[in-house]
């Protein structure tokens, strides 16, 4: 294990654990205010939690509790942090920005410049060396920020939504760059974007309400989400409930579907189905063992060449023609119908 961290922060209602293996990239996903940035700040040494401990490569980063009072300051941790904004020092040139880490570590001016040039070359930005941060585009600035973070030779790299502030043309380039430099390097990336997780991460950790609600390999989490957030990211409907002999008891009714072999009656479980498998009616159709949900439409938005009809936590995809015929608009009642064959039921912890 490269990184092991576990802490409680009362003020923010956070209770998080995270392990990162050698040369592993872990994506931390979750809604706003879930505690993702707090997690990174605690690891970086910028926020001191109420209690907990953290170790990196066997060395203590912090150990706080009733008696323990160890807190290694940020500058001694060798943990790099890359945020949404590049935060290049505006009064220094690009080269001086990248040389800042080596200089702080005690390297001489020429040695620091040599190392800075090396890292600028790695991010294909050597030609920008003489510029001021104010003269850079968002994508260029973020590439320089990557070089600056790596030039400090961090043992662990933390990335806090590194692509969120970039426009759509710049993001793919920086994402490819990150893919290349994160290879074989332990790192934690906080993101909203499923694309980042797919391209960059070996493993996903989903954080909701200050707790880890789900984790696993990227493929496993996206294929079989157990939290509403991961389901939303994977574009799936998800219902929490209790597994019964015939389906999943959720809310007032039972959802029928194919029950996974690993599920036992009485366990907490989830029912998952695709929005494309949901048919929308104004009145419940008769016959056939189908799942029906009486809902109120909250939103209708374009989704590919279809329209995605949202009703609370559920979503259904319909053709524009069907939506017009059904007169679907926010506030109108509707019936969502999904065949039992399209629903998968497997174990999963209840929602918070």
């Amino acid at each position: 294990m490269s990184l092991q961290v576990s802490f409680v922060d009362d003020a923010r209602g956070t209770d998080l654990q995270l392990d990162v293996a050698d040369s592993e990239t872990v994506a931390v996903l979750g809604p706003n205010g879930a505690g993702k940035s707090t997690l990174l700040n605690v690891i970086a040494g910028l926020h001191r939690p109420a209690s907990g401990s953290g170790r990196l490569d066997g060395e203590t980063l912090f150990d706080l509790g009733d008696r323990a009072r160890t807190w290694v300051p940020a500058q001694d941790r060798r943990v790099g942090l890359l945020s949404q904004d590049a935060l290049l020092f505006p009064h220094l040139s690009v080269l001086e920005n990248v040389a800042f880490g080596p200089r702080s570590a005690g390297a001489g001016r020429s040695e620091a410049r040599r190392r800075a040039s090396h890292w600028l070359e790695q991010v294909e930005a050597l030609d920008l060396a003489g510029r001021r941060p104010g003269q850079l585009s968002g994508g260029q600035a973020q590439r320089i920020a990557v070089a600056r973070a790596l030039a400090a030779e961090p043992r662990l790299l933390l990335l806090d939504e590194p692509l969120a502030a970039l426009d759509q043309s710049a993001a793919p380039l920086v994402r490819r760059l990150l893919k290349r430099v994160l290879e074989g390097r332990p790192s934690v990336i906080v993101t909203h974007d499923v694309m980042d997780a797919l391209v960059l991460a070996d493993r996903i950790v989903v954080v909701e309400g200050g707790r880890v609600v789900e984790q696993g390999t990227t493929d496993a989490v996206l294929e079989r989400p157990r939290s509403r957030f991961a389901a939303g990211m994977a574009g799936l409907n998800l219902l929490h409930g209790r597994i019964t002999d015939v389906g999943l008891a959720a809310g007032s009714g039972t959802v029928s579907g194919s029950i996974d072999a690993t599920a036992a009656a009485g366990d907490d479980g989830v029912a998952v189905f695709r929005p494309a498998d949901v048919a929308v009616y104004t009145q419940a159709p008769a016959g056939s063992p189908r799942n029906t949900f009486h809902v109120t439409v909250t939103d209708v938005e374009p989704h590919g060449d279809q329209l995605r009809v949202r009703a609370g936590d559920l979503a259904a995809d319909v053709t524009p023609a069907a939506a017009a015929e059904l007169e679907l608009a926010p506030g109108t009642p509707a019936v969502f119908v999904v065949k039992a064959a399209a629903v998968t039921i497997y174990p999963g912890k209840p929602a918070h």
């Binding site: 970086a44 300051p73 940020a74 500058q75 060798r78 935060l87 020092f89 880490g101 400090a152």
Partner: protein, 279 residues
């Protein structure tokens, strides 16, 4: 820095009242300029007593500005970082000289550094007498001018934010390195503006100086004191010297305003400094 920014139209009465206010500020200056005896202007401002006063003013103001920077920068850093215990109480107290009548400041200084004062007695035993010396002028000027530097720099420090400093720390920079290579360079424009304001305030200082340092030609009689004295005997000389002070003040305000760091907060301060300037 948005170019071509256009505010929406103001009601007519606001524009009219603003014009009256502007006239109120500029008219007295014009009235003074009109009274100047131009043929005698150069001899008046270059007389021995005038040059002595001007020289003393510039020297003492320069030294007190330096003291303001040396003492005020750490104060601003501490106040801006919310690390001082009881800070909510401390800040208004520390900034009190900003709103205190200077003559009151002078009396307070007298009971601190005067021969019978709190520290003065000890200093007296060491053979050091501060009151009514050039050192007293510098102390009085520093006392009234330092809050200007602290307030303007603290404002700049707060708006510059701590994110750059956090990044510098994750790059391995120790607190001293962060301060010298990140924090101070980032707030340099604010620091220069604050220092210029302090200089201007020190240059115009009158009440505290007169009370605490007296008015001895060559050692404590600064330009404002000289002007006040000349007004009794030679009003033309007083007006001519006043114009010299106005010229210096305009230069200082120009420099402070012209800099990019001239934040809104600083402009508020500028208006304060003019309004609360020495009588």
């Amino acid at each position: 820095m948005s170019a071509g920014h256009q505010g929406h139209a103001l009601p007519g009465w606001v524009t009219a009242a603003a014009a009256v206010g502007t006239g109120f500020v500029l008219l007295p200056l014009a009235a003074m300029v009109l009274r100047i005896d131009w043929p005698r202007f150069v001899p008046l401002v270059t007389s021995d007593s005038s040059l002595a006063a001007l020289g003393l003013s510039l020297r003492t103001s320069a030294v007190s500005t330096l003291l303001c920077v040396v003492l005020g920068v750490p104060m601003a850093l501490a106040l801006a970082r919310d690390t001082v215990p009881g800070q909510r109480l401390l800040r208004p107290l520390v900034l009190l000289p900003l709103v205190l009548p200077p003559v009151v400041g002078g009396i307070a200084l007298l009971y601190t550094f005067g021969r019978r004062g709190l520290l003065g007695q000890s200093l007296d035993l060491l053979g050091v007498q501060v009151a009514f010396s050039t050192a007293a002028v510098v102390i009085a000027q520093t006392f009234v001018a330092m809050p200007f530097l602290v307030v303007s720099l603290e404002g700049t420090l707060r708006t510059s934010g701590q994110r750059f400093e956090a990044v510098a720390a994750t790059l391995g920079a120790r607190p001293g390195t962060v301060l010298s290579r990140v924090t101070l360079p980032l707030v340099l424009p604010g620091l220069v503006s604050g220092a210029m304001l302090s200089f201007a305030r020190a240059l115009g200082e009158f009440g505290a100086t007169l009370t605490f340092a007296g008015s001895l030609q060559g050692s404590t009689r600064t330009l404002p004191l000289e002007i006040y004295l000349q007004r009794e005997t030679d009003p033309d000389a007083a007006v001519a010297l006043s114009l010299v002070l106005v010229a210096v003040a305009v230069g200082v305000v120009g420099v402070a305003h012209g800099r990019r760091g001239g934040s809104a907060r600083l402009r508020t301060l500028l208006s304060w400094s003019r309004a609360g300037a020495p009588r």
